[in-house]
Symmetry: C2
Subunit: 395 residues, 2 copies
């Protein structure tokens, strides 16, 4: 039969990255393609202990229907954690536990994005969240990123051209660019959002993975009128397979978000909420993240040094202060896709910058490299292969 | 600030049942309110073993990002199971593993329900799935259920009045009515759907919990042109906290459903997919479900007998051949809400029939009683309390 699919799904696209990741599983491949934390650091013994205890002594809670708002002890320990670490304020705000950062974007779009609405995103921006907006029929427009965050003039112009439902930003160690929005720009963006009455969706999955430089408070800490919806996740700090993320928003929004959660999948994994809760309350979380940070810092420096040694001098990049990626660029005007495709043939997976554009048909000279997942040996080997390729292409 | 929420979320409602379930956790409450399997039967030792092995030997797969289509070995074992048990055909169809039956409804709505579209449901119907449709701005219309399934004349009239995007039905042991659509009516509904070019969303979470009578093949087995989207779940047969359900649909739909899954939450729990896979392939599933069935059958008969002994003769019900519910009715024209509210005061939770109507403000004389979760003692005690109340109200 001829299916009449919804208009909202017409614009929905497959994630290039997830298709690339299937290739990464092939033997002999070196993958700089993913955005995953290092599986070698998963706290598997701890997770096993929590699971053992949960299935033995709490099987009714862990295997029965859970509460849509989140596992109650975890809701409390998470609030405390976010208060202590991120200075978020739970006098005015609520938290909702969801199935990973992707679901946080899904529900935010469900509540705030009518079909055909304009949603602004940074250029470049994370393809997964753009796909969530696309799947609600959003009209995505992008605002150029500068070294300290979004171009404020372009942002104000887009707000003026309005109406804009929502502005999506990754404030710290942006994916894919690695850029951190400065404190001054966070304030300026918030003031503009206020002036033009726009919701800001502030995504912060990498904030805890800072290796250098100073912590900058989330825009959510500046929010006096409830227009910032903040989202975080344990996918990068503990393990992505748990699918545990969360939203923080003004209390007035809690009922509608809760209804949306009930409607999409009833509740998130109680087992993995218990794991997060136990890590937070047994003070294991900080030491775990600290160990992860040290390992990633080492790998990041290794990749940066290897790139300096191997890459053609016309290729450029900024060494990031944190996060999981180095974004490198071919000279202005070049398209990175042929480079990426040739690299795959040589068994190195990278992600072309075009994957992070509102229109994936557009060209980009950027290439995203992940350093958290590959081994140190693969970082050196892979960068050498890419370096050779850069000389072949750039002469 | 004043939030401008999406039009689709205006019609979204909180689940009365999930609010009731919070009361069920209060001490001394007897709950006939839920729709959950008996936690006493959760295969917790087996789940613990699978988890132990997974976290010890497969931590990279189980805690890393999973595949959106589902854990590959489980995709295969599930297909085999559905082929053997339900006679579903995977030459023409594909399966997609999702986070429980609720997400199956969410994605089906995402693909097929534009805002304002008419969606037909049985009257009464399952509130969770109706809420999923409401959260996409569907206009729900209901078709009366007769003892052997939906009223065909009313269904055809509604199809004619069209356009109708989708007809939602629970073919076996319907929730809340317990009604099973006969083989003849399945065929007739399918032919009507074909004639008026409507998609049928066939939900079958209870089909394996048959205590009496003969198995009737799913409408999906009659589907020659790919218009039936079939959904099932392991929530009632293994454990709802796993959040493992699945869709079966024509191959042509696989790419779009996969994209939708990526956009909502990337992938479902790999751990619990491993649990389902191990149960299916180690031939534990059949014996487990068989034991559950025996226990529920006993409880169902106990509740039925207790109702016969205690309820006012003007209260009516059909003893169901399977599933988790007995639906009882006050005399025609009466409203069950005062009965349900008074029962709560006497510490017995039931669900008013109005919860299962397209307009929850409408009155219903029905009351849904769950027999799988309460203990045998609570079944006898609770029915006695309800029986007394029925005599007080009906004289």
């Amino acid at each position: 039969m001829d299916y009449r699919l919804t208009t909202r799904m017409e614009g929905a696209q497959a994630s290039i990255i997830r298709e690339l990741l299937k290739m990464a599983a092939l033997p002999g491949m070196i993958s700089f393609g993913g955005g995953a934390p290092d599986y070698r650091g998963f706290p598997k013994e701890f997770v096993k202990q929590v699971a053992d205890d949960a299935f033995t002594n709490q099987s009714k809670s862990v295997l029965g229907y859970g509460i849509s708002e989140g596992y109650p002890p975890f809701v409390e320990s998470l609030k405390k954690h976010l208060q202590d670490k991120e200075k978020l304020d739970f006098a005015e705000n609520e938290v909702l536990i969801l199935s990973g950062g992707q679901q946080c974007a899904d529900l935010t779009a469900k509540l705030f994005v009518n079909e055909g609405d304009t949603v602004l995103v940074e250029n470049p921006s994370f393809v997964g969240v753009m796909n969530a907006f696309r799947s609600y029929g959003a009209n995505l427009k992008s605002i150029p990123l500068e070294e300290d965050g979004v171009d404020l003039t372009a942002l104000e112009d887009a707000f003026k051209a309005g109406p804009v439902s929502l502005f999506y930003m990754i404030s710290t160690f942006q994916n894919p660019s690695g850029i951190t929005t400065s404190g001054a720009k966070r304030k300026a963006v918030y003031e503009l959002a206020k002036k033009y009455d726009v919701i800001v969706f502030e995504d912060n999955p990498y904030g805890e993975l800072r290796y250098e430089g100073e912590w900058i408070p989330a825009m959510k800490t500046l929010d006096t009128d409830g227009r910032v919806i903040y989202t975080g996740s344990f996918s990068k700090t503990i393990a992505p397979g748990m699918r545990i993320g969360f939203l923080v928003y003004a209390k007035a929004l809690h009922t509608k978000f809760k209804i949306a959660k009930q409607a999409v999948d009833v509740h998130s994994s109680t087992l993995y909420q218990m794991v997060c809760h136990e890590m937070l309350t047994k003070d294991l979380y900080d030491s775990h993240v600290s160990a992860q940070r040290a390992g990633y810092y080492k790998k990041m420096k290794l990749m940066d040094e290897a790139m300096k040694a191997c890459f053609h001098p016309d290729m450029t990049w900024h060494r990031p202060e944190g996060g999981l990626f180095i974004q490198t660029k071919l000279p202005e005007g070049m398209d990175s896709l042929p480079f990426v495709n040739e690299a795959v043939k040589r068994k190195v997976i990278t992600v072309p910058g075009s994957a992070f554009l509102t229109n994936q048909e557009d060209k980009s000279n950027a290439i995203r490299l992940n350093f958290s997942l590959p081994s140190e040996e693969d970082i050196e080997k892979g960068v050498e292969i890419l370096g050779k390729l850069s000389y072949e292409i750039l002469g």
